[in-house]
């Protein structure tokens, strides 16, 4: 069977205990992005940004299933993807604020990052074919490595997604499509923008599909690890669809959902669940991450502007 639902440890059940490292990463992303929204309100950032508040557990769960040889293609909502890979809040904040030590010298900003094998773009859907190309190379020259692409449900409106799936399956490449299905694209609910299902679309190409309902990091890892391993070993493309929730606005202050919808979305926050079930561990790590982000922000804010010349942390790779 090409498609299946992975349910154990769903939203209804209490989460299992995380090791400190995982919970810290979750909290790092949460506080990093809350801080970004505060910086916007304080007029310290301009343009816009998209936070993954509510969805952090997806990249955190996948982080330990990916390794340095893997490519990650991220999108407009990519801070969690980046931080899960590099744990580099200072470099990312410097990038967004245009300060010394910025990952891409400050030319990329929030949604256009290029560091070693991590690339993000704000143009929806365009990463997929690029990832297929990279995956084809990996298959030929670095067997066992894969190319992972993060996309939202709305992005399944773009034609490039289907061109890529077709090629990925035809050429049997190690492509992992991670769908953060948060039921909304900007202001448009999935019901108004998607006919059929992602599962059926993947099936149409003969591409394996898994849908994950759980928000429990441990449970997710256990459930998806074998399928991810098959991508590596058998060069079988896989669509991994996470039923998730966008708790924050699309970017800033532009949430069109009703109070009632927002209440139900907020009630599903992993943050509350872990806080409730593991209060001591949570309080200790939450404070630590909150303070770390405050410290980093002060430090980065005081730095000189980023410049095109000079060293850039991420660009050593061949």
């Amino acid at each position: 069977m090409l498609t299946s639902e992975l349910r154990p440890g769903g939203r209804e059940t209490a989460p299992t205990r995380l090791d400190d490292d995982d919970l810290e990463l979750l909290l790092l992303i949460r506080h990093f992005e809350r801080n970004l929204l505060d910086l916007f309100s304080a007029g310290k950032l301009n343009g816009t940004t998209h936070t993954c508040i509510g969805q952090e557990y997806v990249p955190v769960a996948l982080a330990r299933l990916l390794d340095d040889r893997d490519y990650v293609f991220s999108n407009h909502r990519g801070h969690g993807h980046y931080l899960s890979r590099f744990r580099d809040p200072a470099g990312l904040l410097a990038e967004i604020m245009g300060r010394d030590g910025a990952v891409c010298h400050g030319v990329g900003g929030s949604q256009h990052i290029f560091r070693e094998r991590f690339l993000s773009t704000g143009v929806q859907g365009e990463s997929l074919p690029v990832a297929v190309g990279v995956a084809l190379h990996l298959k030929r020259h670095e067997p066992g490595a894969l190319a992972a692409v993060f996309v939202g449900d709305g992005t399944w409106g773009e034609g490039s997604v289907y061109e890529a799936l077709n090629m990925a399956r035809l050429w049997q490449v190690p492509l992992l499509v991670v769908v953060e299905h948060n039921e909304i694209a900007q202001s448009t609910p999935t019901t108004l923008q998607m006919a059929g299902t992602i599962a059926a679309r993947a099936a149409a190409f003969g591409v394996e599909h898994r849908r994950v309902e759980s928000a429990d990091v441990n449970a997710i890892r256990g459930l998806v690890a074998p399928a991810v391993e098959r991508v590596r070993q058998a060069n079988r493309p896989l669509v991994l669809e996470f039923a998730t929730t966008r708790i924050g606005p699309h970017s800033k202050g532009d949430d069109t959902r009703t109070e009632e919808e927002l209440r139900s979305v907020r009630a599903r926050d992993w943050y509350l669940a872990y806080q409730k079930v593991f209060p001591d561990q949570f309080a200790r790590l939450d404070t630590r991450q909150r303070e770390a982000i405050e410290r980093i922000t002060r430090d980065v804010d005081a730095r000189t502007p980023s410049r095109w010349e000079g060293s850039c942390p991420g660009q050593s790779e061949s």
Partner: protein, 339 residues
């Protein structure tokens, strides 16, 4: 040659109201929809959200979901279906969220929209309007601040216009919708919130005309879209130093209406062409080429271009270095005068 038309400053009468450029577009769309039931609006988040910049605010509520369609995230699909609707009699107005997101739909624009009228020997009309907020100045990132107008002006079969102020926005969007040909309609996003007095009972200039906004004799400054405000400010600053600039808003980029520019250059002998787009193979390059061809004997100095640079659009912290500003315009004027 047609005499250049003067921009009549509207004095406030009972029929005028103060509007922003965004409001002008919204009112223009509304008027077009009221007048003609074949006009429909489609795009990402244009319905319940009213679009990223709220240009379509309230239209779905008032005209319903049959006429204001929230589409999937699919630019090629949006423009393609608009073409299909148009050849069956609709007049679709498509919204592209930001300049940098038109490219997934580029193939439909260039290969279908631009060609059908020609291919059918004029039998098929394709009255599609594609609205694109363009240009920088709002502190945004890559793909959100670009000026891609020359790609479209380069393609035969597409009309391309750019509004610069609230009054033109109101009239030009209606005229674009009433046009039987495809029109790529550029909106200067950083001027969306600028205000002016609109008299909806006035008679608008034809769509494909450029317009002299300020008379002067020292040099001609031609511009369009977001740069019009910049150039008018430069002219005001120049006037304080005794430099009297003539400012022309091109308004229509394809076809260009350069009659007023030629006439102006024959008086002033100098042209500074200003736009945000990079200069290479740009509208500015086309204007420069035609002016030197038509006004060769009148020119006292080469045509100078003040434009964005031939680089990807920079991060927001640097955009002030990239975007032509008052100083760069006046500096070019000084160079032209010193020639």
């Amino acid at each position: 040659m047609a005499a250049p038309t003067m921009h009549r400053p509207t004095t406030a009468t009972s029929s005028t109201q103060t509007i922003t450029l965004a409001k002008g577009l919204n009112m223009g769309l509304r008027a077009a929809m009221e007048r003609d039931p074949r006009v429909i609006v489609m795009g990402e988040d244009v319905g319940r959200l009213g679009g990223v910049f709220r240009i379509t605010d309230g239209l779905q509520k008032d005209f319903g979901e049959q006429r204001v369609l929230d589409t999937p995230l699919a630019e090629s699909g949006i423009i393609g279906t608009a073409i299909g609707l148009a050849i069956r009699g609709y007049r679709p107005v498509c919204e592209i969220q930001f300049d940098g997101f038109v490219f997934p739909g580029f193939d439909q624009l260039v290969s279908q929209l631009a060609k059908l009228h020609y291919r059918s020997q004029g039998k098929v009309k394709v009255p599609v309007v594609v609205r694109i907020p363009f240009g920088g100045g709002i502190g945004a990132v890559e793909h959100h601040s670009e000026s891609p107008e020359s790609y479209f002006a380069h393609t035969a079969g597409l009309k391309v216009v750019a509004c610069s102020n609230p009054v033109d926005a109101y009239w030009m969007i209606q005229q674009a919708i009433a046009t039987d040909d495809p029109v790529i309609f550029f909106e200067p996003k950083r001027r969306y919130w600028e205000k002016a007095e609109l008299d909806p009972t006035a008679r608008p200039e034809p769509l494909h005309t450029s317009r002299v906004l300020r008379r002067g004799s020292a040099a001609t400054v031609a511009c369009y879209g977001p740069m019009v405000r910049t150039c008018l400010d430069a002219a005001a600053a120049g006037a304080e130093d005794g430099i009297d600039l003539e400012v022309i808003d091109l308004r229509t980029l394809s076809p260009l209406d350069l009659g007023p520019v030629f006439e102006s250059v024959r008086h002033t002998g100098r042209l500074v062409m200003v736009s945000e787009a990079p200069s290479e193979s740009s509208i500015a390059a086309e204007v420069a080429a035609r002016v030197q061809q038509e006004c060769f004997y009148s020119l006292e100095a080469p045509v100078l271009r003040v434009t964005g640079f031939d680089t990807p659009y920079p991060p927001s912290k640097l955009e002030e270095e990239f975007l032509p500003d008052l100083d760069r315009v006046l500096h070019a004027v000084d160079r032209a005068l010193a020639w």
